[in-house]
């Protein structure tokens, strides 16, 4: 549940805030969300990676698709990759890695304040 909540929250907030703020707001989002809903490091990373990465990937893919990939196919010639769709995927990965790192940072920050509690049977 916490994983899904993190993922959805990171994705939604990244999407909404990116419309108004610079791209690096994703660090703030994934940091904040994982500070709020912390968990294991690997869980946090994957949540951040997928949360941001999917939003970037899908948004990029939609814009690319709507424009018949014409401009991506031009831009890709400036990069050392061959295919336009690879550039879209790379966009997703770049967003994902940043999101994942932000999430790890937020999560590990929260760990500083969390005392090890006895495991509850409900969690």
């Amino acid at each position: 549940m916490k994983f899904l909540a993190r993922l959805i929250l990171i994705g939604t907030l990244t999407y909404v805030l990116s419309l108004y703020a610079p791209w690096w707001v994703l660090f703030v989002v994934s940091f904040g969300v994982c500070f709020g809903i912390h968990g294991s490091s690997i869980n946090a990373f994957i949540g951040g990676f997928l949360g941001v990465g999917l939003v970037w990937l899908v948004t990029a893919w939609v814009l690319d698709y709507q424009s018949n990939a014409v401009f991506t196919d031009k831009m890709v010639q400036l990069f050392p990759v061959e295919d336009g769709i690879l550039l879209v995927i790379i966009s997703g990965v770049v967003g994902g890695v940043c999101g994942g790192l932000g999430a790890l940072t937020g999560n590990s920050f929260k760990q500083l304040f969390v005392k090890q509690r006895k495991k509850s049977i409900y969690s």
Binding site: P22, W24, A60, T72, K74, Q77, G102, T105, F109
Partner: protein
């Protein structure tokens, strides 16, 4: 441990964030540029533009856009017209405008880094920045022009203010910098930019070198001032009924060598204009054609606009960043320009008193110099400081810090363009001229760069005018480096406007110009340039004198004419010299191709390629002497070369220096023919296409030479010296045909590019293939176009409350 882990991730996140937000070497900031929310994907046009806007105009403005996206700005006053011109030009070309202003101001290194530093230094040294500020100062005398410059800048800034990073043109994102505010001074950049392209071409130092290398007799044969069979801009035999101003005829050329010379604009890209009077046209209306040829780039050098106010209804093209229309037409008149090459630069050798360079020797005494330190800011590095020493002639461009040949050389530049005058005011007034008289008065303000102004009017007048500032010089002066210490080496006066070159309503019923010699020897002033056109002018005049009942289509055909005049004059002798009995089969087929050719450089033909291959090899063999020297000299013109081949077969330099034998002209023809056939074979072996368009490979690169935003291998014929002057990197940059129809001016136009400068736009470069095919768009024009079916969208602007 936890703290360490947190700090580790924190530092890693921040480091990643910063590096993806910055340009590193040539890699653009990947985070920013790949983000689908603000990166390159945001440059894709998103459907319809808004139809209503509120902007800082004084009254409501309506803008109609046509099928090629030309804005037709209908405003109630000048301020609003120029405000919207600035706003809409920026919308399509903001990055290009910023780039132009950085070129002129010598500030390219701020965004491109060290690789542009020498370019910036050169542009500061030759004074482009200084000139631009001077133009702005001169504009102050003309409040109406000043208002235009200011309103234009306001419009550009209104657009810039609307932008977020996501909206920045892609070039800003790739180079990772922000657009900076526009200013009225920048609105004056066209003067320095066009002067730099059009009037700075000279060969004084190259000529001085050539004179030292070859001596006077050979020099005069290789670089003659006039040759027979020329067809000048001003028809031969025109007489001049004024008393010319006297000129001091003392001057002394210096014998010296300047090993390396500064970069200069190519002397000739080729531009044509021609006009037929009513007596030559089918409907009795003046028909006009103009096409300025420049280096072709994307975004295109030109931007088309239609400005309409109660006192103005003018359409045409201008350089982005410049208000008014530079080439165009209104209800009553049409005008167009070609460059009129005419020596505008002199170089003076300067002697400094000592290494401090605080004083220089002039008129037998030491005079004080002036020093200006220019700071060239360089991205990612410390600024470079360049000290420019000024003497009364002008800036000492060549000195110990710049092309100075180990402190041996100090050359000061005197360039007529350094005193800018009121060229922009002239254009402002030309835009509003309603008759020949008004047009002529407007030209009195024109100060250069020298242009052949062709004119036509609804009233039926046709005229050509060569206004501008031309120093009065004795014959032969200004071709070589001059002695900067002597008073009599300088020019002091310029030719008065009343004594300028002009012609109006000649009996022949047509006028034209194509960068050729301006006038025959009857003109009482000395006219000279180092490089003239010899072919296009003759082809155009040959055709015009034969043409009657002209309709606009005929002029379109002439603009796209591919007749290779040079081939028609050189190839017959080349072919006749060959011994056909000894041919190999490859040589025979090469020969046959050329022997059956009609001299038209059509894109699909092989013969133009065969001719060009052969000629280029021949030319290099003839002037092989030039390859043995490492000082800069210009090879003679190919027209002169052909004349020498045919009239002076014993010319000394025809001998190939690497061989013991003394080659004759016929041997040169033969040797180069054999080599040409071999080079064709190797081209064919590597399966390179050898039809003319493919071999010539006309290209339109992006200004930053980014391959995906560039075009190459454009399927167009023509070439250098051909009316359709599309060479590898230059060509017709705006083709315009105008008929002064009494029911309303009719016009057609096209340029190799698009109004939009956005490579992400579907329409980017959409006119290129039509341009190559010789097609035109009929231009929407008139007092009221609101009901025209050619209007594709309308934008209404309301003033701010």
């Amino acid at each position: 441990m936890k703290t360490f882990r947190f700090l580790f991730f924190l530092v890693l996140s921040i480091a990643l964030g910063i590096s993806l937000n910055s340009k590193i070497e040539n890699v653009p900031p990947l985070g920013k540029i790949l983000s689908p929310f603000e990166g390159y994907l945001q440059n894709i046009e998103k459907g319809e533009d808004p139809v209503n806007r509120v902007l800082a105009v004084e009254s409501p403005v309506t803008v109609y856009f046509d099928e090629i996206n030309i804005p037709h700005i209908y405003a109630e006053n000048d301020h609003d017209a120029y405000f919207m011109q600035g706003y809409l030009t920026a919308k399509d070309r903001l990055w290009q405008m910023d780039f132009f202003s950085r070129v002129v101001m010598g500030r390219l290194s701020e965004v491109l880094g060290e690789r542009a530093a020498n370019f910036d230094k050169l542009n500061r040294r030759i004074g482009l920045k200084k000139m631009t500020y001077q133009v702005w100062e001169n504009v102050q005398e003309f409040p109406e022009v000043k208002t235009g410059m200011e309103a234009y800048a306001e419009g550009v800034n209104a657009f810039i203010d609307e932008l977020d990073y996501a909206d920045y043109p892609i070039e800003f994102k790739l180079l990772d910098y922000e657009p900076e505010p526009w200013s009225p001074v920048k609105s004056c950049l066209a003067y320095a930019m066009l002067s730099n392209t059009l009037s700075r071409s000279e060969a004084d130092l190259e000529n001085t070198n050539a004179m030292a290398l070859f001596g006077e007799e050979l020099f005069n044969m290789m670089y003659p001032e006039q040759l027979g069979n020329l067809d000048p801009v001003i028809r031969k035999g025109k007489t001049w009924d004024f008393e010319p101003k006297k000129v001091v005829s003392n001057f002394r050329n210096i014998i010296s060598k300047t090993p390396q010379t500064i970069d200069k604009p190519s002397p000739l890209y080729g531009s044509n204009n021609f006009v037929a009077a009513g007596s030559k046209t089918k409907d009795g209306n003046v028909i006009f054609a103009n096409e300025p040829d420049l280096q072709l780039t994307q975004p295109s050098i030109w931007y088309a606009t239609h400005l309409h106010t109660p006192s103005l209804n003018t359409m045409g093209v201008t350089v982005p960043g410049t208000p008014t229309i530079l080439i165009g037409f209104n209800n009553e008149i049409v005008w167009g320009v070609t460059n009129s090459p005419r020596d505008q630069v002199d170089w003076y050798s300067i002697k400094f008193r000592n290494k401090s360079r605080k004083e220089y020797w002039y008129n037998n005494q030491w005079f004080k110099t002036e020093k200006v330190v220019e700071e060239i800011k360089i991205r990612g590095q410390a600024s470079q400081f360049d000290t420019i020493v000024y003497v009364h002639h002008g800036p000492v461009v060549y000195d110990k810090n710049f092309y100075g040949d180990n402190e041996k050389i100090n050359h000061a530049m005197r360039w007529v363009a350094h005193s800018p005058g009121n060229t922009l005011t002239a254009m402002y007034k030309v835009n509003r001229s309603q008759s020949y008289q008004e047009f002529e008065t407007a030209l009195t303000y024109f100060n250069g760069p020298p242009q052949n102004f062709l004119f036509g009017s609804k009233a039926g007048d046709i005229a050509v005018n060569l206004p501008g500032k031309f120093p009065i010089k004795p014959e032969g002066k200004g071709k070589f480096l001059l002695d900067g210490s002597q008073t009599d080496q300088e020019w002091t006066e310029t030719i008065p406007f009343e004594h300028r070159l002009w012609d109006k309503n000649p009996d022949q019923g047509f006028l034209s110009s194509a960068n050729q010699h301006q006038v025959d020897s009857l003109y009482p002033y000395y006219v000279w340039d180092h490089h003239y056109e010899y072919f296009r002018n003759r082809r155009i005049n040959d055709r015009l004198s034969l043409m009657n009942n002209i309709v606009p289509k005929d002029f379109m055909k002439l603009q796209n004419d591919n007749f290779n005049y040079h081939a028609s004059e050189s190839l017959p002798a080349m072919l006749d010299s060959l011994d056909t009995a000894t041919f190999t089969s490859a040589q025979r087929s090469y020969f046959t191709q050329l022997n059956t050719w009609d001299y038209f450089n059509e894109p699909e033909l092989l013969a133009p390629t065969y001719y060009q291959l052969w000629w280029d090899i021949l030319y290099n063999k003839i002037w092989d002497e030039y390859d043995t020297t490492n000082i800069t000299v210009n090879k003679p013109h190919r027209y002169v070369t052909t004349q020498l081949l045919q009239n002076n077969p014993d010319f000394k330099l025809f001998d190939i220096i690497d061989t013991k034998a003394i080659e004759t002209v016929n041997q040169l023809y033969y040797l180069s023919f054999v080599e040409a056939v071999d080079s064709l074979a190797s081209l064919n072996n590597s399966s390179t296409k050898t039809n003319w368009a493919a071999y010539k490979n006309t290209q339109i690169p992006h200004v930053l030479k980014l391959a995906p935003f560039s075009r190459e291998n454009i399927n167009i014929g023509g070439g250098k010296g051909i009316v359709n002057a599309a060479s590898k990197s230059a060509g017709p940059s705006w083709r315009m045909i105008v008929e002064m129809n009494p029911e309303g001016t009719k016009a057609w136009g096209i340029y190799p590019g698009s109004q939009t400068g956005n490579p992400a736009d579907d329409k980017y470069g959409h006119m290129i293939d039509k341009w190559a095919a010789g097609e035109y768009f009929e231009l929407l024009f008139g007092e009221d176009i609101s009901q025209s079916s050619k209007v594709t969208s309308t934008l209404t602007i309301k003033p701010e409350q």
